[in-house]
């Protein structure tokens, strides 16, 4: 018997709904404990809102929060950038998006599909309030944009969900602990220095066996699942490979480009940045890496509008006077947001034009290298690699062929395709931290498909995917499978390193 998309009969029958079930059962406890663990106060302090009414705990998809807190606004959306009616109307309800939507794949429920969410957005414009149920289904969306690729009607779901998330963040009163957890993420991840500091204690917590003790103490073991997920995701912080502010081109200069160093990328994958700069220089680019902050991608994808716009403005300020031909990005999530700056800042008279001009120069690094054309000599790397499409590269930016070409231009390199390539790995920005259960299921699904390729290594273009896939493989006892960014692979080839350096 074969199983497609999980779920089904007999013993496997709860697979499809596993996550849902667990959410239902544990939601309340988990959230309370989480609140406690991050200092949001005791459950009593958090108040009535954490205690879910029996009914709501049993929701098919419900995190177990009641509506008693009065978080109920009607209609769901106000006039400030609601999901646009015109864009909603592009949806003809054909359902072509269903099979590529990760949450529909997991739950098989209409309201956790793009078509269903768009339906809810439409209802939210005039007919229905923004309440726990509605927010829950928007929260569960990974924002992977696989539906944008699948949609034959050209529905711009990316814009719709971003607008919706903005409304949710402004108008919906999250429970105290949820709010606190999210706040913690956004005080941490966009700031590489803080992230670097925080990653240490998390290791410590693990090394000292606090987790094991928590686990053994019965109820406590299943409590801080969000924190646990976060901790399990973050690997050891490698020694930082610094990138110079200016790196001269090797040989005749073909372009002057700026590189974004990213936040997660900089802290956990600094070798990727170093490789990117070396590759760009080797291909004839003068590379500029000014002192810089977060590009705002995480905040944008989470609907934190003001915060994201501030990050965007600062990033523009940092780069725009450097006289650059292109802004080259090696993290898919960052690149997709920076390509959107023009849209995001459309209402800002001071920045609208500048943002538009900025976005036009943004390129993913593989996209840019293919546009430039290969010049430096590629040395052979005899290895078979599975290429994983990062959603924010493939779906959000439409960049699929370029990274594959980049790899295939290396002699000896075999590129394997992964089954269900269009389905998200579950990383999705902050998703695997705020929705750990479905993220875990998706991660393991992806890991299984990767293992099935029989490839010796994995190549992917986004730090979030790397963390997620690494964590999933580790859980499944396969942490031996090496992983690299296309730039690390190309760098090894250009430098003539033996293939073993990639397989360590």
């Amino acid at each position: 018997m074969t199983e497609r998309n999980g779920g089904g009969r007999g013993e496997d029958r709860y697979n499809a709904t596993d996550a849902t079930e667990r959410r239902g059962d544990e939601g309340t406890f988990r959230e309370e404990a989480m609140a406690e663990s991050i200092g949001a106060g005791s459950p009593e302090d958090v108040g009535q809102s954490t205690y879910a009414a029996g009914d709501s705990v049993r929701q098919t998809v419900g995190i177990g929060r009641s509506t008693e807190s009065g978080s109920y606004t009607f209609p769901a959306f106000d006039d400030h950038h609601p999901p646009e009616k015109d864009l909603i109307d592009d949806c003809v309800h054909c359902g072509f998006c269903l099979p590529t939507c990760p949450t529909y794949v997991l739950f098989g429920e209409e309201m956790d599909s793009p078509r269903g969410r768009i339906y809810l957005m439409n209802k939210g414009l005039t007919e229905e309030p923004m309440n726990d149920q509605m927010v829950r289904h928007f929260d569960l969306c990974l924002g992977c944009m696989a539906c944008v690729t699948a949609c034959p009607s050209g529905v711009q779901y990316d814009k719709l969900i971003e607008a919706t998330r903005g409304q949710v963040e402004r108008r919906y009163e999250r429970s105290a602990e949820d709010k606190a957890f999210r706040e913690m993420i956004f005080q941490l991840f966009p700031y590489p220095n803080r992230l670097r500091l925080a990653a240490g204690p998390m290791r410590l917590y693990q090394r000292l066996g606090i987790r094991d003790r928590l686990r053994k103490s019965g109820v406590m073991n299943r409590i801080p699942s969000r924190l646990r997920a976060m901790e399990a995701l973050l690997p050891d912080v490698p020694k930082e490979e610094k990138v110079p502010e200016v790196t001269p081109a090797v040989g005749e200069k073909r372009a002057r480009v700026g590189v974004l160093l990213g936040c997660v990328q900089r802290v956990f994958f600094s070798p990727v940045n170093a490789a990117t700069v070396r590759v760009l220089a080797a291909e004839g680019c003068e590379v500029v890496a000014p002192k810089q902050g977060c590009c705002g991608a995480l905040s944008t994808h989470a609907g934190r509008e003001e915060e994201s716009l501030n990050f965007a403005r600062k990033t523009i300020d940092t780069f725009e006077n450097e006289d650059l031909d292109y802004f080259v990005i090696n993290a898919a999530g960052c690149g997709s947001t920076m390509k959107e700056y023009g849209y995001l800042l459309r209402d800002d008279p001071e920045y609208a034009e500048r943002a538009k001009a900025f976005s036009e120069k943004v390129r993913d690094v593989s996209e840019f290298l293919q546009q430039l054309g290969p010049r430096a000599e590629r040395h052979p790397l005899p290895v078979t690699a599975a290429y994983h499409d990062a959603c924010h590269l493939a779906h959000a930016q439409g960049v699929r062929q370029q990274p594959r070409q980049t790899l295939k231009q290396i002699p000896g390199m075999q590129v394997k395709e992964i089954r269900e390539a269009e389905v998200c790995c579950g990383s999705a920005g902050i998703y695997n931290m705020v929705e750990p259960e479905p993220a875990e299921e998706l991660g393991e699904r992806k890991a299984k498909n990767i293992l099935a390729t029989g490839a010796r290594m994995i190549v992917t273009s986004n730090p979030g995917c790397m963390l997620q896939i690494q964590a999933s493989l580790k859980r499944m006892g396969h942490d031996e499978l090496p992983m690299a960014h296309p730039m690390e692979v190309l760098d090894a080839s250009l430098r003539g390193e033996p293939v073993e350096t990639l397989l360590r």
């Binding site: 018997m1 074969t2 199983e3 497609r4 998309n5 779920g7 089904g8 009969r9 007999g10 029958r13 709860y14 499809a16 709904t17 849902t20 079930e21 239902g24 049993r58 929701q59 098919t60 998809v61 109307d89 592009d90 949806c91 003809v92 309800h93 054909c94 359902g95 072509f96 269903l98 099979p99 098989g108 429920e109 209409e110 309201m111 078509r115 269903g116 339906y119 809810l120 209802k123 229905e128 309440n131 149920q133 509605m134 289904h137 949609c151 034959p152 009607s153 050209g154 529905v155």
Partner: protein, 484 residues
């Protein structure tokens, strides 16, 4: 039964994760692929196995609660439209391929399995599942069974009914029946499976379906021919079929449709008044010979351009353009109303002319994409639902198109089904006696009228009951049937 008690009873069967009852959530189920009709169901239930389906149906039967089965919700006739105060049984979690038995060329699947998965499952062994509705990457086998779905390759290979050899079904009284054959291809007795396929969910709910898979043909050749207008393209179609060639598929798209598709998926189709996609498959030698003749016929019909797919990628591109046609209408119009009439192939030209005249009369745009080989038209009436009265006007125009097709000896539907949308036209095509005879069959399966009630027939009525004075049906009078 009180709603809260019903919810409890369903949760006892399915667990809380299998029951949806919050208002906002239910609203996302209020329509299927046809948005013109909307009804909020009382409850949505999501069974994961046949046993649960049986228990749900039995509960409904005992309590007299009407219910509707739904697959992926992509139907275009409102067949899966919920009924008020009824239960919607969604099969999306029953999605396992249960058995692959290629020695007997059969695959057994649960109803929620997506059509395309079947072909993907057996592709490596050189097999495929022939019925290929445009929605094949999302529509479910259960839904295909209910609607007797067709697809572009039905011209040569037949509809779903020709590819289903057996089904396990839960009957409206909650009993389980096995219709059709096991491994042997045919069984004696009434063809109940034949009655069940295409019954639009009114006779029961299939819980496992046995499909016939075919060996992939040795050779496949596909061409795309551009014409000045649909009339010339129609001539080519007649020429090909009249020439004794049975292509695997002949599809036509008119200018408006081509424009939409170009915006949506950029297949790079020629700028023309009509485009034909012709696909031939079979043994190499036969295909080669017929392909030459097909090209010649297209040339003789003044084709302005003929493109031959050089490889699988190019063929896939041709089909991508065709299969995205409906959904692509969203690019050129806010809303559209699709019809699904069938006309005799020889009437194609006349009917297309009439449709174009009707469009002008109403001042509305009508795009045409259709299975030209078997005369199955899909006129798409484009309108803007936000403009007051447009929707009604579109529906009226669509109705006139149906009447025009009937006048030319056609039928109401080729493959989308009657459902909610076209039931009102049934008396235009069938006599009262015809409809009553169909009711007799329905009543034999569903005497309490609980299984997808209100669909397919113009006037819902209880079995054995008819408006006006009682009049015995001729079939009954003759002692050939009795009312249950």
């Amino acid at each position: 039964m009180e709603r809260s008690r019903l919810i409890q009873a369903m949760e006892d069967i399915l667990g809380p994760e299998g029951v949806i009852h919050e208002r906002e959530q239910l609203r996302t189920y209020e329509c299927d692929g046809l948005m013109n009709y909307r009804v909020i169901p009382d409850l949505v239930v999501l069974p994961v196995n046949a046993e649960q389906v049986q228990k749900i149906v039995r509960l409904c039967y005992d309590e007299g609660i009407p219910y509707v089965a739904r697959g992926s919700g992509t139907g275009l006739s409102g067949g899966a439209l919920p009924v008020e105060s009824g239960v919607l049984i969604v099969m999306s979690r029953m999605k396992r391929i249960l058995e692959v038995d290629l020695e007997n060329e059969r695959v057994v699947v649960e109803p929620g399995v997506i059509n395309l998965w079947v072909s993907q499952e057996v592709a490596d062994e050189g097999y495929y599942y022939a019925p290929d509705p445009a929605s094949q990457l999302v529509s479910s086998i259960g839904g295909n069974l209910a609607e007797n779905s067709g697809g572009v390759h039905c011209l040569k290979y037949g509809f779903t009914t020709n590819h289903v050899t057996g089904a396990e079904v839960v009957l409206p009284d909650g009993s389980v029946a096995h219709l059709g054959g096991g491994k042997a291809p045919d069984e004696p007795g009434y063809d109940l499976l034949g009655a069940f396929v295409g019954s639009e969910g009114t006779l029961g709910i299939a819980t496992s379906i046995t499909l016939r898979v075919l060996r992939k043909p040795e050779a496949v050749r596909t061409l795309l021919a551009a014409f000045k207008d649909t009339e010339e393209a129609g001539d080519a179609v007649s020429g090909i079929i009249g020439g004794g060639i049975v292509p695997a598929a002949i599809e036509m798209m008119d200018r408006l449709c081509l424009e939409a598709v170009e915006v949506a998926v950029s297949p790079g189709f020629p700028d023309a008044g009509a485009v034909l996609i012709v696909e031939l498959d079979g043994p190499e030698a036969e295909v080669e010979n017929q392909f030459e003749r097909t090209m010649k016929i297209c040339e003789d019909s003044n084709a302005s351009e003929i493109r031959v797919a050089e490889d699988d990628a190019e063929r896939a591109l041709f089909w991508k353009g065709r299969k995205a046609a409906f959904a692509a209408m969203g690019r050129v119009s806010n809303d559209y109303y699709v019809q699904d009439s069938v006309v005799p192939r020889t009437e194609l030209g006349a009917v297309l002319k009439r449709i174009s005249d009707l469009g002008e009369e109403y001042g509305m745009r009508v795009a045409n994409v259709f299975h030209a080989g078997d005369g199955n038209l899909h006129p798409l009436v484009l309108y803007d639902g936000e403009v007051e009265g447009e929707a009604e006007k579109a529906e009226k125009l669509a109705g006139d198109i149906v009447f025009a097709c009937l006048e030319h000896g056609g039928s109401l539907t080729g493959e989308h089904g009657i459902g909610e949308d076209k039931k009102k036209y049934m008396p235009k095509m069938f006599t009262e006696e015809d409809l009553d005879t169909m009711q007799l069959l329905r009543c034999a399966f569903d005497p309490h009228y609980l299984c997808n009630p209100g669909k397919m027939f113009p006037t819902p009525r209880l079995c054995g009951e008819r408006p006006g004075p009682f009049r015995m049906h001729p079939v009954q009078k003759a002692g050939l049937a009795e009312l249950f």
